[in-house]
Each structure stands twice: as C-alpha cells, then as structure tokens.
C-alpha cells in the first residue's frame, strides 16, 4: 500500500504567553499509519498534537506561527472552521473523560450533534463503534448505565469508541495509556494496531517500548524541538542524532 501524507507541518512555533513550547517543527504525517511522538515530559509533544485539531484555541495566551496543512488545507487559515477540523481529526485524552451520561449516550453524542436523529441508525453506529473499540462484548448489556461506572481501561476505550463514532480521518491520542494498568494498556495497543487499517493515528507517549510496539513512524522531541523524525525501526535501531540515541537507550529522560 502506498503512503499518502495527511498532515504536514511547516515551521510551526507555539508560545504559551512567554513560554516557547514548540520550536520550528516541520514534519509529514502519513495516512493509515501509526505515528508516535516521544520525548521527556514537557518537551512539547502533547502541545504539538493539540495544534492538529486546534484544541490549543481554548488556552488563553496561546500563539501559533507557521503552517499546518490537513489534506493541503491550512488548519489555521481564517476561513477554516475549527469545529469541522475537529470532526475530522478526533482526539483521545490522557485521562479518560467520558461524559456523565450513559454508555450509549456517550457514543451517540457525536453522531447526534452532527445531525443524526434516527434511533435505528444511532443504534447501528453505537454498536459498530463499540465493536471497533473492542468494548462491545463488555458493555452490550448495560448500554444505559452510567459511563462513569466503567473501569479506567473501559472508559478509555469508550472514549475511543466515541471518537470513532463521528468517523474521523485522524485520531490523536495524548498518552492514552498513562492512566491505565498493563492489561488495559495491551488492549488499547492491540486496538491501535487495528485502527491503522482505516485511520491515521498519532500517539503521544513517554513510554518508549509502547512507541516501539505500536508505531510505524516515530518523532523524538526535546525542549520543544523535533530532534529526529523517521521510521520507528530506524529511530530505535539506527538513530541519526546522538541525543536521540541517548534517550532511546535510557541515558536520560
């Protein structure tokens, strides 16, 4: 399968007030692959992926320069609707954040706001999304129970199902397993492997093993800069920069 680029960043800089959090990042993210961003805490990797669906718009005092293209369309152009961007570029957060509604309503939320009212269609979407998030078997008998009663791993898969239900093209994952136990983590990782058949997945992690296990491409960030970006195999086996090698081999971080 040939690779196509879905997101391109061009000299992206970001400031939170005075704090220069992302420095001159240029990269190309391929479609239907898993791209991992690794680096020590505070290196700007989460900030960077929050640029891709304009979640940083919510942060007061945040300023961005440079260009981010999604299918060749400038995400930050004046005429671009952030709501439309976010529908196509979904996001799963570090801490599972289901709404205080039932399991069903959580998944149906996205389709509903995008105008689907027919109960039958919603049922189909909810079931398909929960199946694709490998959660259906566990929750099918309690769809109308509160999502807050699920375990952490189930909540996170519910959040993924919720994201899948609006049929995005890209799924951003901001350290999706950092709040989960190893078993839940392995389920999510298996799920990510499935998801790349249909979606572009960008995952932020500070767990290098995880990046090695799930990703096809890896970017290593340090102090806001993209130190190195390449295939995961190359980054882990044959890094071009000494800094990357030091981090990969655990000499700092």
């Amino acid at each position: 399968m040939t690779e196509t680029t879905i997101i391109t960043t061009n000299h992206v800089n970001l400031w939170y007030g005075e704090n220069h959090a992302v420095k001159d990042v240029s990269m190309e993210v391929p479609d239907r692959r898993v791209t991992a961003l690794i680096g020590p805490s505070g290196c700007g990797k989460s900030t960077l992926i929050r640029c891709f669906n304009r979640m940083n718009d919510l942060v007061p005092g945040c300023r961005i320069t440079g260009q981010i293209d999604f299918h060749g369309q400038d995400i930050y152009a004046r005429e671009t609707d952030p709501v439309e961007i976010r529908r196509k570029i979904g996001m799963v957060f570090q801490k599972p954040n289901p709404f205080p509604k039932s399991v069903y309503e959580n998944v149906a939320y996205g389709p509903r706001i995008h105008g689907i009212r027919d109960r039958g269609r919603l049922d189909t979407i909810v079931e398909r999304s929960l199946r694709n998030a490998a959660l259906w078997e566990e929750v099918k008998d309690r769809l109308s129970d509160s999502a807050m009663g699920l375990s952490g791993g189930q909540q996170q898969r519910l959040c993924i199902a919720r994201t899948l239900a609006v049929e995005p093209e890209v799924i951003l994952m901001d350290e999706p397993c950092s709040a989960l136990d190893p078993i839940a983590t392995s389920k999510i990782e298996a799920l990510i492997d499935e998801l790349k058949q249909k979606y572009c997945v960008i995952i932020v992690t500070h767990n290098m093993q995880q990046a090695g296990r799930v990703s096809d491409y890896t970017g290593f960030m340090y102090l806001g800069e993209m130190v190195e970006f390449g295939s995961t195999k190359q980054i882990f086996e044959n890094p071009a920069k000494e800094l990357t090698e030091n981090y990969i081999t655990g000499r700092f971080g």
Partner: protein
C-alpha cells in the same frame, strides 16, 4: 547513630542497617509526646462541630413547635379543611372569615409567573457569564449580579411602589398598578441573582475534560454547552432554581408593597393585572396589629404553618430531584448490582417507558397545564410550541443555532443589567440630593419627614454584626462536620434535611417564630438581641450550604496528601482544606450580610421601632433599622419622598460597601487558589 537522637522506639529493625537513617522523628520535628492528648483534642473538636450541626435540627424543631402551638387553636376552632378551603379571608369583618384559599392560590400564581420570567433569564445569563463572556466583561458582570442580590427586598418594594406600579398603571391603563404582574416582576428580579450565581458556578465547575472531549468530537461551542456542560451542571442549576423559588415564595416585603393585597383570586385566572395577596403579605400586614392570643392571632399562625408547609414541600421535591440527578451521574456506582437485577419487571418496564417517552410525557404535562390555565387557547399555544420545537431546530445549521443561542444569552444579561441600571439610576438620582451631613447624623423628627436616620444606621449595623457573629461560627462548624466528619447515616440525614428545611423557610416565618419564642415566651420583649438571633437563624442555612459546597470542591487527593504526611484530621482541615475554601465561604457570608442588612420581615415584630431618639445601650432595647424605616416612610408617611429616596440610598450604600469589601477579598484569594 548518636544516643538519644531517635525516640524511644529507635531500636527498630532499621538500627541494624547503619546506612539507613533511623525510623522515628527526624531532627527538628516537634515530638508528639502525648498522642493521647492529641486524640482527645481531636475528639473535642469533632464534638464541637457536631453540636453546631445539631443546632439546625433543634432550630427547625423549635420553629415547628412554636408555630403549631400557636396555630392549633384556629385549626380546632374552625377545622383545618375549612381554614384551607374557605373562599374568604376577612378576619376583621362581622362575622370574621378565616378562609385562606385565595391567599394560597395567589402565592402560587405570584411564584409561578416570577419563575417563568426568571428561569430563562437566569440560566441564559449564567451560560453567558460562565462560557461566553470575555474575561474583562465577566470581571464586572459577576459583581454586578451579586450587587443585584444585595439590593434589599424593601428597596425593591420601594422602587416597585413608586416607579413600577405607576408604569404598569399608565402602560396598561388600569385603575391601579399594584398588581400580580408588579409583584412577579419584582420577585423575578429578586430571584435572578440567586439563579444566576449558583447556575454559573455549576456550569463553570463542570470538568474541563468534558468540554475538551466534546469539542474534540467536532461539536460546536453551543452544542458543547447545551448537551454536555449544562446537563453536567444540571444538579447545580436545579438547586439554583429551587433556591430562586424559595426566595420568591417566601418573600414578604417587596410583594406586600406592590401587589395591592386584595385577597381575591384573579378573574380570569391568568389576569396578571389583578391585585393579589400572598400568604407572606398577609402576615406582614396583619401581624403587627393583632392582639396576642385572639382568634385572628391564631389564624395568622395558621397561615404561617401553611406557608411553611408549602415551602417545605417545594424543598422536599427539590431534595428528591437533586438526589435523583446525583444518583444518575454518580461516578462509582457499581453496575448490575443484585438489587437492581431483582427489581420487579413492571418497574423495569416503567423505567424503560419513561426513558423512551420522556419527551412526550413532558409535552403532555405542558399541554395539560396550559389547558388548565388558559383553556383552548393554551392548548393551541402548546401545539404551536411543539411544532416549532420539533421541526425548526433540525432546519437550522449548528452554526446558526449557535449564533441565535449566543445572542439570546447575551440578551438575557443585557436585560438583567439594564434592570439593575434602571433601579440604581432612579434611586441614586433622586436620593443623593437629600443626603446631607445632618441626615446621616441626626435622629428623625416629624415622623421622619425631617431630621436624619442616624439611629437606623447604627441599629442596622448592630443587627448585622450580631447576627453574623452568631451564625458564622455555627454555620461553618456545621458545614465542617457535615463534609469532613459525618458518615452517611440517619443522623446526618436528619441534620441535612433540617438544614434544607431551614433554608426554605420564609423570612417572615422566622419573624413570627422570633416573636412567639423570643419576644413573648422568653419575655425578651421587642429588642436588638431578639432581632439578631432571628436574623442569625435565617442566614444559618445559607452559610452552612455555601461552606459545604466550598469544602467539597477541595479535592480528596489534597486531604489524603496531608493525612499521609502524618497530619491529624483537624490539622488537615485547618491547613489544607479550609484555606482554599475561603472564597466560597466568603461568597456565602456576602449573601448573608446582604440579606441581614436588608431584611425587614424577621425584625418587623422582633426588634424594631419606627422612631427612637437614642442609640440602644443594651441588647434588650429596641432599635431603629434602615429597611424598616424605609418601609414605614414609603407606606405610611405621605410627603417624605426625599427622605424615602435618601434612606434607600443609604441602605443601598451600606450593603454595597459590605459587598465590595467581600468581593475584593474573595478576588484576592481566588488568584491564589486556582482550582
């Protein structure tokens, strides 16, 4: 390891490893030589807070006891049913008639219309302030709304009497402007700040994650607000509305001054231009002039009991609703518990039916109630509404829906602020010219037409200071007990219910209780101390509630962090739980001070006289008070309009000063505790 460095328990296993520092108290730590004394101290502290909490129960019991005691003769004499359903209230006629049915209906009508106005305005404004307002706008809109809350009810009543009723009379060309409409408009204005502040808090404190989660799915801002944030804040908004209803149903002075006080049911029932008379108004007007232990006196206590029961029912309903919502959103409810599996089938089916047909049910209720009120026209209105709600929204794109919704929300805020502006402008522009040094420092003469209001200013200050000094420690103590110490059990349930009931008790009922218990039974006479106690009881639930809310916002993790460092429970509460809760506690205190300074009803029969030349020299002398002075000037002294306006200005100024200080303090501590 040097001898004596560690405590007696130093010969722990750690001693056999010289490199490991000894277990025990590190250098420089205070050594706790008397763990027994500490635990005794903790026990005493706990007991003190428990007593504070118990106080609410005792109070509500006393109020009930004394009201029932004094109401019993009327129930015995004419029968409860005749009392409730009697169509005529004419206690001074021959023969006297003690039927309060029209009073009950009028009370419900006044509250209903007020809520129909205040709920949309209030929730709209709350949404605007919480989510839409730019930072700078928010920074002055919020205090402005709190200011609206601080305007004393008697000032609203005064404004209503001289401006609003005139406007209604002229605009609608009716013989008198003292109508249901005037009363409900004022009630709406008075309920608004409560509804706005509490809803806004609830919406603002919905977790950030919900907002991010929704936006990340491509929801518009408005969709996020209407479908995630508002539902998540629903319990808070419901609480806000109920507090508003309580305020409206129990309000006395403003209503009494503008509704005309004719004990009739409007004809037809939706004629908002008819005069009405509420239960509270009846008490306010007649209580002062009735001989103790006459039939009329007992009848008034009967009215108070009915009023109390109505507000208790409202509150009880509220508690049930809130508990339901809380249960639905409960995070840690274990799923598929055995009890749930064992639920009978019909209940499951009823629940499923309710879930699937909730919309239809609500529409049915709406249609029936409109039909009952307005006849066939009401039914037609319901049908049109249904069609609009059912078929119009899908035709509007989310973007336009957002624009429309945001404009409406902004409009709500503008209406609220404009009302505030009109009232302030009217009072200030007409009152300020009369404010002179003499007015502020001299006692009144010629029935308040000349001279000043110095004794009233001082009296009000005394009332505020005394009542807050009584209620603040008890209230905070009770809240600490309820949130930090209490385990869920029957006793806590009772205490919490009592607090809720006390909270819903109308201020005039406190007045009656103060009169029956303090003034008559304890023979205090009409005096400052009786007023202070009555007012303290009235604001106690506000303080308990807001303090509880504030304590609850402090994350459990913070408490655990402190306890894990070896801090005792009380140390944890004092050092890490209370400090960040201070802004919340202050909010409650602000609201309380505002109420105390402006309340007339509770002191009407307990503490005040219209005119005295002397400052009170002991707690057992009657005082003048600003709100009461304004009330009498406005209703009983013709030809004192300048003094009326000037008194209103002083009363407003006093309240605003309290508010400004408190808001400033809260703002400062807010910056330090950002969660």
């Amino acid at each position: 390891m040097k001898a004596g460095e560690g405590p007696a328990a130093g010969d722990s296993p750690a001693d056999s490893f010289p490199t490991v520092p000894p277990a025990g108290t590190p250098d420089g730590f205070r050594k706790d030589r008397h763990p027994g004394r500490r635990s005794r101290r903790e026990g005493v502290i706990r007991a003190v807070w428990f007593l504070c909490a118990l106080f609410a129960v005792i109070t509500i019991f006393f109020i009930f006891a004394f009201l029932l005691l004094d109401a019993y003769p009327i129930f015995e004499e004419i029968g409860i049913w005749n009392f409730l359903s009697g169509p005529v209230w004419n206690p001074t006629g021959t023969p006297p008639a003690y039927g309060i049915f029209p009073l009950i209906v009028d009370t419900l009508l006044a509250t209903l219309l007020a809520m129909a106005i205040a709920i949309p305005l209030g929730v709209g404004s709350a949404i605007y302030i919480a989510e839409l307002a730019p930072y700078r706008v928010k920074a002055w809109v919020k205090p402005a709304v709190e200011l609206l809350a601080g305007i004393p009810s008697v000032v609203f009543g005064f404004f209503g009497l001289v401006v609003l009723t005139t406007w209604i009379r002229v605009t609608f060309d009716v013989p008198t402007g003292e109508t249901w409409l005037a009363g409900s408009l004022l009630l709406a204005l008075m309920a608004l700040p409560t509804i706005i502040s509490v809803s806004e808090d609830a919406i603002s404190s919905a977790p950030r994650e919900y907002k991010e989660g929704s936006l990340a799915l491509g929801a518009t801002h408005w969709q996020t607000i209407s479908r995630v944030l508002t539902p998540a804040a629903l319990s808070g908004i419901t609480a806000a509305i109920i507090l508003g209803v309580g305020r409206a149903a129990g309000e006395t002075m403003a209503v009494l001054m503008v509704t005309g006080n004719a004990p009739v049911i409007p004809e037809p029932i939706y004629n908002v231009l008819s005069p009405i008379r509420t239960l509270t108004g009846t008490l306010g007007i007649e209580m002062g002039e009735v001989p103790v232990d006459s039939t009329h006196y007992y009848a008034l206590f009967g009215v108070a009991v009915v009023l109390l029961v109505i507000t208790l029912v409202i509150n009880f309903a509220a508690t049930v609703v809130l508990a339901r919502i809380k249960r639905q959103q409960a995070p840690s409810r274990p799923m598929c518990t055995p009890q749930e599996k064992a639920a009978p089938e019909w209940r499951e089916r009823a629940r499923a039916f309710y879930r699937d047909h909730r919309g239809q049910l609500l529409w049915g209720i709406l249609a029936v109630s409109l039909l009952a009120f307005f006849g066939l026209i009401g039914l037609a209105v319901a049908a049109v509404l249904y069609l609009v709600v059912r078929f119009v929204p899908p035709m509007i794109s989310p973007k336009w829906a957002q624009r429309i919704a945001f404009s409406l929300a902004a409009l709500c805020v503008i209406i609220v602020l404009l009302s505030l502006g009109v009232i302030l402008y009217d009072i200030l522009s007409k009152g300020l010219p009369y404010i002179t040094w003499e007015f502020l420092t001299a006692p009144p003469s010629n029935l308040g037409r000349e001279g000043g209001i110095a004794p009233a200013i001082v009296g009000t200050m005394y009332l505020v200071i005394g009542s807050i000094a009584i209620s603040l420690p008890i209230g905070i103590g009770a809240a600490i007990y309820l949130t930090e110490y209490a385990r869920q059990g029957r006793l806590v349930g009772i205490i919490r219910t009592a607090t809720d009931l006390l909270n819903g008790t109308p201020s005039i009922v406190f007045g009656l209780f103060g009169f029956a218990f303090l003034v008559i039974y304890l023979s205090f006479g009409v005096c400052l101390f009786a007023g202070q106690i009555t007012l303290a009881l009235m604001v106690l639930p506000t303080i308990i509630r807001t303090t509880e809310e504030a304590l609850k916002t402090v994350p459990v993790a913070v408490r655990e962090g402190s306890l894990a460092l070896g801090a005792s429970k009380w140390q944890t509460i004092r050092k890490v739980v209370l400090p960040p809760a201070v802004p919340g506690i202050l909010t409650g205190t602000i609201l309380s001070i505002g109420r105390v300074a402006g309340e007339t009803a509770p002191i009407l029969f307990t503490a005040v006289v219209f005119s005295t030349r002397f400052m009170p020299s002991s707690l057992f002398q009657p005082v003048m008070a600003l709100p009461y002075h304004l009330y009498i000037l406005a209703t009983n002294v013709p030809g004192a309009q300048g003094q009326q306006y000037a008194t209103a200005v002083v009363l407003l100024g006093l309240v605003v000063a309290f508010y400004a200080i408190a808001i400033w303090i809260r703002h400062r501590s807010m910056a330090r505790h950002p969660w």
